[in-house]
């Protein structure tokens, strides 16, 4: 026999929304719509600052231009300086700022919205962290990328692979949400150009 008893589905919200979506007949009073933000929902869009939101948003009208830039950026690049390299990286992953630090912890290039305290501290801490982070998974090979999600912004860094103890850390501040899909491309471009970079 079929069980037609009460079920476990809470369809109150769905019923209320459907009532608001029904075409108006002009005579019947429309039910009061649900509050825009029911308390049980976490509105991530409200959590982000307006500054962050405006940075992430692609401006209307500039979209196809951005597409063109992205397409150009897919071509192999030839860099002779770290400055030109991080400039290209920043435009590709739309980061707010970028820097390069050597394995001694010295900043050798920076670009973009540099914080008042500079990148010295960030760069030095990243260099110190590389060795420790590699201990997390000793059999996983050399550490290539560090991706840190802080509550205000994301900081990511690429560690250039090297046989010796000399390496560079290329840091990016607040790359955009499409960053992950471009990671491999950025990796390849930096590694390909590494022998010529000054």
């Amino acid at each position: 026999m079929k069980d037609r008893s009460a079920n476990s589905y809470d369809l109150k919200d769905a019923q209320q929304i459907l009532a608001t979506l029904a075409p108006s007949t002009g005579t019947s009073a429309r039910p009061k719509p649900l509050a825009d933000s029911p308390p049980e929902y976490l509105r991530l869009s409200m959590e982000f600052s307006a500054q962050k939101a405006s940075r992430i948003a692609v401006q209307p009208g500039a979209d196809l231009k951005t597409v063109a830039v992205t397409a150009e950026n897919n071509q192999p690049q030839n860099f002779t300086t770290w400055e030109s390299c991080i400039a290209w990286c920043m435009s590709t992953i739309r980061a707010e700022a970028a820097f390069v630090v050597d394995s001694q912890g010295f900043i050798i290039a920076s670009r973009g919205r540099v914080p008042s305290q500079g990148f010295e501290g960030t760069g030095a801490e990243l260099v110190c962290s590389v060795e420790q982070l590699e201990r997390v998974a000793p059999d996983a090979g050399k550490l290539l990328w560090v991706d840190l999600d802080f509550d205000k912004r994301r900081v990511v860094a690429f560690i250039t692979p090297s046989e010796s103890s000399e390496y560079f850390v290329v840091g990016f501040i607040a790359p955009d949400s499409a960053f992950h899909s471009l990671k491999q491309h950025v990796t390849n471009q930096i590694i390909d150009n590494l022998p010529h970079l000054d």
Binding site: K2, D3, R4, N7, S8, Y9, D10, L11, D13, A14, Q15, I17, L18, A19, T20, L21, A22, P23, P33, L34, D36, A57, V58, P60, D63, L64, T66, V67, T70, A71, S177, A178, H180, S181, L182, Q184
Partner: protein
């Protein structure tokens, strides 16, 4: 003027692509000119028609201005049905594709360019309520929600409706709910039967037509054709989509949409 219908669902696996494809075929077989747009980054329409991932140019190339609409819209062997495929999108670029499609005016421009040429534009969207689904809803006049007759789908229906309500109130006041279409229904199974009882009793807007779970959809998918195009006896599932097309036309007409020529006939004498 075309009726723009987005097929949307927060949950995956509800049969959006199957509904989009077979509904488009049913409408076109009825004589209406139909454009089926594959806005799903997966390119599920192409896969349903057994095409490889890089077979067709489409939406991606149009958006990048690498091809025109005329170059990319495919005229099918069904004269009234055309398809705008997803395009040769690199799977690694899906995140960029989603962001660009949502933030640019590409979809809106495409719809504007074709709406005088077709009676129906069906947009197949990806699962979930992300940027592409919202972009599709923002340019649509109607939304059709496939609801898989199983518990998780019923529990998630409010999510889809909430986004629909938000888009209608804040972005596109012309958007109407066409209906909730129960799919993969198995009335001989207790769970499915109870769910259908629940949704029919509890929710407004559930369409009378429903789509049963049937192996023939897998057979059609394997052969890369809509169910109506399989050889042999005309399948009852294809008739379901004809009924769905008729029901949808009635709803659109009731909502003030244009459905083209109505099948009006003079009174006749039988004897």
């Amino acid at each position: 003027m075309a009726n723009i219908v987005s097929i949307v669902s927060s949950k995956g696996g509800t049969g959006k692509t199957t509904v989009a494809l077979n509904l488009a075929v049913a409408l076109a077989e009825g004589g209406d000119r139909v454009l089926l747009i594959d806005a799903d980054p997966l390119g599920a329409i192409g896969f349903s028609l057994a095409q490889s991932d890089t077979e067709w140019m489409g939406l991606a190339e149009c958006m990048m201005k690498k091809a025109t609409l005329d170059d990319t819209i495919i005229q099918t062997k069904l004269p009234a049905l055309s398809i705008l495929p997803r395009g040769r999108l690199d799977p690694l670029d899906v995140a960029i594709y989603e962001e660009l499609l949502a933030s640019s005016a590409a979809l809106s421009e495409i719809v504007s360019a074709v709406k005088e040429k077709y009676r129906y534009v069906i947009i197949d969207t990806p699962s979930g309520l992300g940027q592409i689904t919202r972009a599709a809803l923002s340019v649509s006049s109607y939304a059709l929600i496939p609801l898989q007759a199983e518990p998780l789908a019923v529990r998630a229906i409010s999510q889809t409706l909430r986004v629909l309500q938000h888009i209608k109130e804040h972005e596109n006041s012309d958007l109407n709910l066409l209906g909730i279409l129960a799919t993969m229904v198995q009335l001989n199974k207790d769970v499915s039967f109870n769910i259908m009882n629940t949704v029919w009793a509890s929710l407004d807007g559930v369409l009378e037509t429903y789509i049963p779970r049937a192996d023939i959809f897998h057979v059609a998918s394997e052969k890369g054709v809509p169910v109506a195009f399989l050889s042999g006896k005309y399948p009852p599932e294809a008739i379901r989509f004809e009924l769905l097309a008729t029901e949808i036309k009635d709803i659109i007409q009731g909502l003030g949409g244009v459905i083209g020529e109505v099948d009006e006939r003079p009174q006749r004498q039988l004897i």
